[in-house]
């Protein structure tokens, strides 16, 4: 079998600070094929955005230590020269950011910014690039693109801006598209439209898509694979169906329990995860999740002393937990699942 299109191997991104070493990403491994979607899920500070910026090579070498391997279409990126990685950025891999208002330059027209993105990698005249920009705006569903192309970002609505941002990211037909919280800053009504749009365009371009989000609901319908991050590490990863139907990590259970669902009666309370995400500078000993974990006592003290390994649970499903696999499956089937389904 050929190597996967994107392969990330033991990626570590550390930031030395005056207070100590911040291990934002600590040994992440995953792969992704063309046409497939990976959802990276986690709370703020779990290292998911740092991962995406790391793949694009956007970390400053002066304050970030990046190690491990990133293979994009059989080209290694971590040790490649900055100039080589720059040429790939925007061309082969592109990114969509969370807040399109602050992510677009306020002093340039939307068209100018798309044209700029296109002309960095294509030696064409401004006229040709402008035509391309209008075409891209049309493709992402912006009405009257030949007029809106000369508008400034602040003249667009939030949803339109995110569409323009997508048009900019897709202007060079990237094979890898990373969307960092693409819908978080948008109205709920617009969120679904943007997600649909990204899905359609992904099908059309057959690109690999990474969606980064704190909201499992966002990736529920789009993702083929899901990677749940906590404290800079993957704590559970595998096919989306498995993660939703047979999750084995207590943190993933918590995420599912705290997801509002329309098919549940209003009276049903959400089940939030107690506590708050750990500080990356001072991670809890042992399993980073143990202070918030209801099943920690069942690990016989292992949870507080030893970092659990990411172990195979069958079918590409990996879990980082001290509880025995049989015990995890029992808890899910007997305790968690019935609670989640209660009221249906």
């Amino acid at each position: 079998m050929a190597d996967p299109f994107l392969k990330v191997q033991d990626l570590k991104i550390h930031f030395p600070t005056d207070d100590g070493l911040v291990r934002s990403v600590d040994g992440l491994t995953f792969s992704l094929e063309r046409g497939k979607t990976l959802g990276i899920v986690g709370e703020s500070g779990s290292g998911k955005s740092v991962t995406s910026l790391g793949i694009l090579g956007l970390h400053n070498k002066r304050n970030a230590q990046v190690s491990g391997e990133i293979w994009l279409d059989n080209q290694e990126l971590v040790n490649a020269s900055p100039e080589d990685v720059r040429k790939l950025r925007g061309q082969k891999m592109a990114m969509i950011f969370q807040d399109p208002l602050s992510a677009m330059h306020p002093f340039y027209t939307v068209g100018h910014q798309i044209i700029e993105a296109y002309r960095v990698h294509h030696n064409v005249s401004k006229k040709v690039a402008r035509k391309h920009a209008i075409e891209m705006l049309n493709r992402v569903g912006i009405p009257q693109p030949d007029r809106r192309v000369d508008d400034y970002p602040h003249q667009f609505s939030g949803g339109m801006r995110q569409r323009a941002m997508i048009a900019m990211a897709l202007s060079c037909d990237p094979e890898l598209l990373i969307a960092d919280e693409p819908t978080t800053a948008l109205d709920v009504t617009v969120q679904a439209q943007i997600l649909d749009l990204m899905h359609d365009l992904q099908q059309e371009f057959n690109s690999a898509l990474i969606i980064i989000t704190h909201d499992l609901g966002v990736v529920a319908e789009l993702a083929d694979d899901i990677l749940v991050m906590y404290g800079g590490k993957a704590i559970e990863q595998g096919p989306a169906q498995t993660i939703f139907e047979a999750p084995e990590h207590p943190y993933t259970w918590g995420l599912l329990g705290s997801m509002p669902r329309m098919d549940r009666p209003v009276a049903d309370r959400l089940m939030p995860i107690p506590g708050s995400p750990p500080s990356l500078i001072n991670l809890p000993s042992g399993c980073a999740f143990h202070p918030r974990c209801a099943y920690e006592p069942q690990t016989g003290g292992l949870g507080t002393t030893m970092v659990p390994e990411l172990t195979e649970a069958g079918g590409g499903h990996r879990v980082r937990c001290h509880l025995p696999s049989t015990e995890r499956r029992r808890i899910w089937a007997e305790e968690i699942k019935p609670k989640l389904e209660a009221g249906q």
Binding site: L58, R86, S102, P106
Partner: protein, 336 residues
């Protein structure tokens, strides 16, 4: 378009207010302080004049008219010209008439016009120097934050802001003109149309001295602005697009920090066009600044008023240009 009209009307109103204030300071405040029309007139005829002579001069110069009429006559002179009579026959003062100096026995305006090229050459030349050097140093400092270059540049900038012109000017004259003999010794001005090389040679040291003072604050301003904009999301987006570093820094980072620089630049240049008093005095350049110092020393009221009005005009005009430039620099201004 309405933005431009609104700003222009505002600038004109501002000029009218400034002219009223100037007039009030020189003609109304002395009255409030107890001075009579005769006290005022005495300045125009000299101390040795007799009381009757002074009273007659006060009448002829209109100092006994109501204050608003005096103001009106003064403003009218600016647009249509005027004549002054001090008993020795009428003296013509063609428009734009900013008063008539009885000490130098000539209208004020032509004298101002005479001095303008000197000040313009000095101010504009220095402005180009300090804008380029200040912004360049500021950008480099921000990009190499915490480096030896950054620390050294910011220390020098601090010195530049705190050292007065008459110190740096005289020091550089001593070193570069008198010891090393590579720059002009000051005191000379050659019009650019006569000999551009000599023009630049004579102005080189004043330019550098003046630019040093200003570039220091521009470097600090640019550095602060760049540190802020380079961490903005849109700069990250520019990088994510694969733009080369130089384009990210200039087109995205620097472009966004230009607004405050444009503002300060306009005001600084406007103020300097009315006379770089300290620099012109230090280097004995016959510009508007030297002119106003001399006028103050001679207590030549019409000349002082002329310079004040001219400076006010330059500042207001510079302000207007800055306002209009805002709309060019920041498209968000055009709508709001």
């Amino acid at each position: 378009m309405t933005y431009i009209i609104r700003r222009t009307i505002g600038a004109l109103l501002m000029l009218i207010v400034v002219s009223m204030m100037t007039f009030a300071i020189f003609f109304l405040v002395p009255r409030w302080a107890g001075g009579s029309a005769e006290n005022l007139a005495a300045r125009y005829v000299g101390r040795s004049a007799g009381a009757e002579e002074i009273a007659a001069a006060a009448e002829r110069l209109g100092f006994n008219d109501p204050i608003w009429l005096q103001y009106w006559d003064w403003i009218k002179g600016v647009f249509v010209g005027s004549t002054y009579d001090l008993g020795t026959g009428p003296e013509a003062c063609p428009a734009p008439c900013f008063g008539y100096s009885f000490i130098s026995r000539s209208p004020v305006w032509p004298e101002l016009v005479d001095r303008m090229p000197v000040t313009f050459s000095l101010a504009l030349g220095a402005a180009v120097l300090w804008l380029i050097s200040g912004v360049a140093v500021g950008v480099l400092s921000a990009l190499k934050r915490g480096s030896i270059f950054d620390r050294a540049a910011m220390s020098i900038a601090l010195a530049g802001v705190s050292l007065p012109i008459f110190f740096t000017g005289l020091m550089s004259l001593v070193i570069f003109s008198y010891q090393l003999d590579i720059t002009a010794p000051g005191g000379a001005y050659t019009p650019i149309e006569d000999n551009p090389l000599e023009w630049a040679y004579n102005l080189l040291l004043p330019w550098i001295t003046l630019a040093f003072l200003f570039s220091a604050s521009y470097a600090r301003l640019t550095r602060a602005g760049m540190l802020e904009t380079m961490s903005e999301d849109y700069v990250r987006t520019a990088r994510a697009k694969g733009l080369p570093n130089s384009a990210v820094i200039t087109r995205h980072g620097l472009r966004a920090s230009l607004t405050p620089i444009v503002t300060i630049f306009g005001l600084d240049v406007g103020l300097l066009l009315g006379g770089a008093v300290l620099t012109e005095t230090t280097f004995s350049l016959p510009g508007l600044g030297k002119f106003s110092i001399d006028a103050i020393a001679r207590n030549d009221l019409p000349q002082i008023m002329g310079v004040v009005m001219l400076t006010a005009f330059f500042v207001v005009a510079a302000n207007l240009i800055v306002d209009l430039l805002y709309a060019v620099v920041d498209p968000r201004v055009r709508l709001s």
